[in-house]
């Protein structure tokens, strides 16, 4: 088994755990934290797929994802606090 496949499985398991945390809650903030993990896990899976399939294209995709990830985290925080401050 290719070691990159093991890494992909680890990231997939992390995303499943984070989706479980989003479903269970119990608070809105917990769901926000779970959504954050789902996003970064997905970015990691894209990077690993590029490594596995030898696709150099994903370098650009990952760069854009990290730039957008900051906005995602900030808007999640805004959502959790209900637009307060």
């Amino acid at each position: 088994m290719n070691p990159v496949d093991i890494a992909l499985l680890l990231l997939g398991a992390s995303i499943v755990i984070a989706v479980g945390r989003i479903l269970v809650g119990p608070s809105k903030a917990d769901r926000g934290a779970g959504a954050d993990v789902v996003f970064f896990g997905f970015v990691g899976i894209v990077a690993l797929l590029g490594l596995r399939l030898d696709a150099e294209l994903v370098v650009d995709v990952v760069l854009v994802c990290t730039l957008v990830g900051f906005l995602a985290a900030l808007s999640l925080a805004r959502l959790v606090s209900g637009g307060k401050r």
């Binding site: 680890l10 984070a18 903030a29 954050d36 993990v37 990691g44 990830g69 925080a77 606090s81």
Partner: protein, 117 residues
């Protein structure tokens, strides 16, 4: 497999492992603040290691520039994003675990129900 590719794969697997440990914290830790502490650090380090592995797999000056920028942005903003999420959770009065001994922010905030002012 060349030595550089072996290092790249090692970095990628290590990054995924660190990320998975952070996600495990999402299950095992007791309250929102502990969980966020676990994931915001582990996700930043794990993603940074994955990016490093990607760079070592495709070594070229253009990729070094792109991944270097992505690394810089990732390491700088993951901390800010985690901080913003923790602050939002505190403003939304997310409950803490019963094992918490003291809450300095509540003591400083006269509007907080547990401040005792």
């Amino acid at each position: 497999m060349t030595p550089l590719e072996a290092i790249a794969v090692t970095c990628a697997v290590a990054g995924a492992a660190v990320f998975a440990v952070g996600a495990l914290g999402l299950v095992r830790l007791r309250d929102f603040y502990a969980r966020l502490h676990g994931i915001s650090i582990a996700a930043a380090l794990g993603t940074a290691l994955l990016l490093l592995g990607l760079l070592l797999w495709f070594p070229s000056p253009a990729n070094a520039l792109k991944i270097g920028l992505a690394l810089l942005v990732q390491l700088a903003t993951a901390a800010v994003g985690g901080n913003a999420l923790a602050r939002a959770g505190y403003l939304a009065r997310t409950p803490v675990t019963a094992r918490t001994r003291r809450d300095d922010l509540a003591a400083a905030d006269p509007e907080h129900p547990e401040s005792g002012h």
